[in-house]
Symmetry: D2
């Protein structure tokens, strides 16, 4: 497997600093803000996973559970979408974009887009060479001006024509696209014969934060395809892809199969989704993660020497800290990335506790105080 | 998701025929012989999955559990192999072959090889165009004569040069390669500067049947890369790739990431493996599946009108049946494929019970008797 | 460059045997039947090439000459086709097929198709993994029965769905598809939502032999895309691609550019075409090549011990000869292939002379007589 | 073919302005500064092309002429390089880079590199997804600081590792890399296990300008692979690729074949090269083009309102002109690009005459004077 040195910020082997919380800290305690994927599986998903393990079921998505989940997603999104499940976010984004673009066409994205900065060229690989045309992000977001510039940058055959645009909701910088921003970008894209893709690895956090209907910030705002994140929500594995324009997903089953993204025992990928969608569990967990991020942001904002890079609108907090403070925090065992968003990034999840947030805030304060 | 009609043999929506077994039959009872992937997760794997859900863990395979499983696999195979986990068998085979071949080179395989007949062009996709050179299988196996012919078929630049050979162990026809057959094929391949890949989707069944050390039919016999099946063994998702020649796997972490095959919450893919490897659980389950297949084969062989196509050496039974009998069996609710191996294919798994085998055998007999 | 050993049949370094013809034989005399591409550039094409070298011209196909040639091709084919020029036949076939298929779809072809046997995996490469589904050829041709079998072979997502069929006219075995055969195959293909591609590397020979209008055996018979061979006709480099269904070629300019197939000084690729199309020069040369093949066939048919494998309908003659005779012919300096079409292949071109044909026939007779 | 609107700067259909030169201007007179590929074939190349048209020759590069040209190139470069010919520059760069990189690795280039800005994603296509990591150019050149930053930007598996660097000599901005600059960049690349690729579309202009041995600014300075431009030098079609590290080119013949880059009548691609290399013809023509560029630069520099963006070191002149002047020049019929290098680009070729340079300079002056 990838050797530890292969990670940008080596994660601490041992867990140093004493815990403030009563009782022993959970395993990997200090890793919890490194990403929302260091958390485990939420109880509801785990129970559904276990319950799915009864008897025999048709494979490759032909089981009843999978069909039920697809129908449920169509209800939640109020749309007769073509729904597919793939294994992870990189695959979801890349296969979906490949369904929108030919190899000689391009995808417009922000220069902070995960597809551009953290997928090791997967979009280029799955599409057979589609180029990503980057636009400087503003608060982590694409702007209509930037999108328009990228589209009109060139019009000759020596430069790939933009065929799709991808938005990340919530963004890699912890911000949110308002419904109007999405429809504004979609209008520009559609006017140029382009399709709109949304990287929704943290879509649940966006819905929970905006308090809108999922449809409002997707197809009603002009999104053609949504990659809906499951793992960061609390699932063990598996993302959903919703083609609101069914035509775009017509042959996607074959594409997913060829791309090594069709699970044989699909019920174990799909069933946990059902539990998340029941009674808004997915939004409750996402809302909790968002709340933890706000709690952390408030405490950090009050610390002299710390500066919030952006107002936290979802489950991530980006803070500008002196190098010395960063070093002390790491020495205290805390794991976090600094190469994303230009500061120290602290992510909250369904599993984050107020105590842990307060502990981290306390240690940040201590690290700053040590001057 | 793929619509039901998308499967070659439509699986029965409802489950007809009354069960012979006492008590209600488990869900999907009649689907159990359709494939070894209609079974669920074995108890040991499920327990390990749940136990892995404690606290927080480093993502992308940097967690301790994953490192432990990799070490354990190295022990089981008595080799310092580079170990990686991917999501399914198609991805395992295709990314591994892509690591052995350039797009302008070729892979030799039998004309019944899963990579050629059931992966929707995935090997060609992941390699960027490597051609599969097929050789007629004998009892589901490649022969040295066939391999040699394929290698020497052409030597000009208008035809791709063979760079790898792939063997399936156990084969798609339920047969096994003896150690000597593997080393014989490997000798031919290596003599031509080729690498040897093994599709081990059912490798456990082979080891259990041959009663040999895993090393004996892999690296000791000349296999360079093994794709070790987990799902058919009883896992929910996830296959292992072992590069016995570490050099071949040097950069594989990047390839897997780009190919959308790197799990963020890797512990849930890897931990269940540990339970399987503890105390030979994987081989006990595989041995049970093999035993069930033998039980079925014996009973079927005794039926007038039924003919075993090949001696069952692993967990699959291939029977030649009259069309009318096939129709009656399906009417009775049984699901099975007929386009693989030229007859009716019945697969057994860790979850198959003697009662179910007897029930199926009884129904086959009845279907035949009905003339 | 490819080392000589890299060719299947090593071509003789020196040119042995004395010439029967008066005067010194032209350079490479004994190579002339090895392929129709060992011939040079016909006088008309060479003159046009030189005449194109006046002053300055817009590059990348924006020059007037290129536009004129495209219009002329539209006239010759009586169709408002989208026309493009690429550098060679492998590129023409592969980029055209890639325009018809997605990576997870398949192309049906005969097992003797050049795209399958002599392009080193180019179709798989340019399409990103499309599989070629082969069908046994009958007299070098696809049959509707074979095409139907390939299409209906499988209908599940584990097997690529056939999206295109490719016919070679004239075939790799020197035979021809009659208009009715083409429309019959096209009807089957279109009925299954497939597109029809024609590999016309030797299309001119077919038209000259059938004496029909180019349209009769292309779009009027259901062909959607034709790759029209220029090199074998007598050009130095460059093939034309005609999309009779303009929609299929809508974005092809970008595909060709990305595929490294857009000539900057396009006028030198396109202008010679104009000379070929003037006054039917292309058909006159093709007719001559066909006549030479018939002359050779008649003489060979009369030789005891030689057997024509197929009736020569275009410019190739395929003869079954004893190994000893083949060896003697090679010793006499003659170069020819034996791994295509199962016998000795002798190709005629615009440059083949009756004397050379008679000389070869004489040497074949002598080789056979030597017993 | 690509419709005229498909070019960034529509080229004037008609040729306006009266010629200053005596006699009628050559065809396309006003297109001559648009690019060095609007010129035709130089006399020496045309003669060689015609002389190559004698008798029959082995195809696919097995002819004697091709082997002779390869040997001659080895002499000129004083290196036992593996030499191949492909059809155009996009193909040369892309196939060469694909030979250096796997799909999950990256290529470092300047943000003005032709491979990044003008090849429609060809490098990504041929490599199957390799990402181009751009670095801001300084005077059109990569700097060791920029290269180092790109290499060390990230070291985790979510970002492709840099495996090659590409330099353009002479650059897209008409500047030159000094020998020391190349060896400095190569030292950094090699220290990181990377290979050095040179895009030599205008390599001849660089050698002519620097007056050095071709080896001095290639393998002696650490270049591993050179794509040597033929078309801009005065050939009709065809570029050479020299692998100074033979190992890197070991299998390239197969790659070129699969990529649709192997000419059947290779002699017509290779023979003209021989004429260019005889007696330094290639450098004489390149030197003339450079001289014309200097002549133009001197005259333009003297014009009030015009500003040279960079000192012209090869055959291109980049001038900053007011929009109004640009419009007047175009109205006068002159074709030139403005989206390359941030100003008006005027390219000179082997065919550019002093009179034409003076005519253009005069019209630029007039356009500026008109205020």
């Amino acid at each position: 497997m990838p050797r530890r040195p292969a990670t940008a910020d080596p994660l601490p082997a041992a867990l140093a600093a004493p815990a403030l919380v009563s009782g022993a800290p959970p395993a990997g305690y200090h890793l919890q803000f490194a990403s929302d994927n260091t958390a485990g599986v939420c109880p509801e998903a785990l129970a559904a996973f276990a319950q799915a393990n009864t008897g025999f079921a048709a494979s490759y998505g032909n089981d009843d559970a999978t069909h039920t989940v697809c129908d449920r997603l169509r209800e939640v999104f109020e749309a007769d979408a073509e729904v597919f499940f793939v294994f992870n976010g990189t695959a979801a984004n890349s296969t979906a974009l490949a369904a929108l673009c030919q190899s000689y066409q391009a995808v417009v994205c922000s220069d902070t887009a995960h597809v551009h900065t953290d997928e090791c060229g997967a979009p280029e690989f799955f599409s057979g060479g589609s180029k990503l045309l980057t636009v400087p992000a503003r608060q982590g977001k694409l702007t209509t001006a930037g999108l328009t510039e990228a589209i009109e940058r060139r019009s000759d055959i020596h430069y790939p024509r933009a065929r799709a645009v991808t938005l990340t909701q919530s963004t890699e910088q912890g911000t949110l696209y308002q419904r109007g921003e999405i429809s504004g970008l979609a209008r520009v894209a559609h006017a140029h014969g382009m399709k709109v893709h949304m990287d929704g690895a943290r879509f649940a956090n966006a819905v929970a934060s905006l308090g809108c209907a999922p449809a409002d910030i997707t197809w009603r705002a002009g999104v053609d395809v949504l990659c809906l994140g499951g793992t960061k929500m609390g699932l063990p594995v598996g993302e959903a892809i919703l083609f609101f324009d069914r035509q775009l997903g017509a042959d996607f089953a074959y594409r997913a199969k060829q791309a090594g993204q069709l699970a044989s025992k699909m019920r174990f990928v799909s069933s946990p989704w059902l539990a998340m969608l029941e009674g808004g569990t997915w939004l409750r967990h996402a809302g909790h993660a968002n709340a933890m991020a706000h709690r952390l942001a408030e405490k950090v904002a009050a610390l002299p020497g710390a500066e919030l890079l952006l107002p936290p609108e979802a489950n991530g907090v980006f803070v500008s800290l002196p190098e010395a403070a960063i070093a002390r925090l790491r020495a205290a065992g805390w794991a976090f990335y600094t190469f994303i968003g230009g500061g120290a990034r602290f992510m909250c999840s369904w599993a984050t506790t107020p105590e842990a947030v307060d502990h981290l805030a306390h240690d940040i304060g201590a690290a700053l105080a040590a001057g």
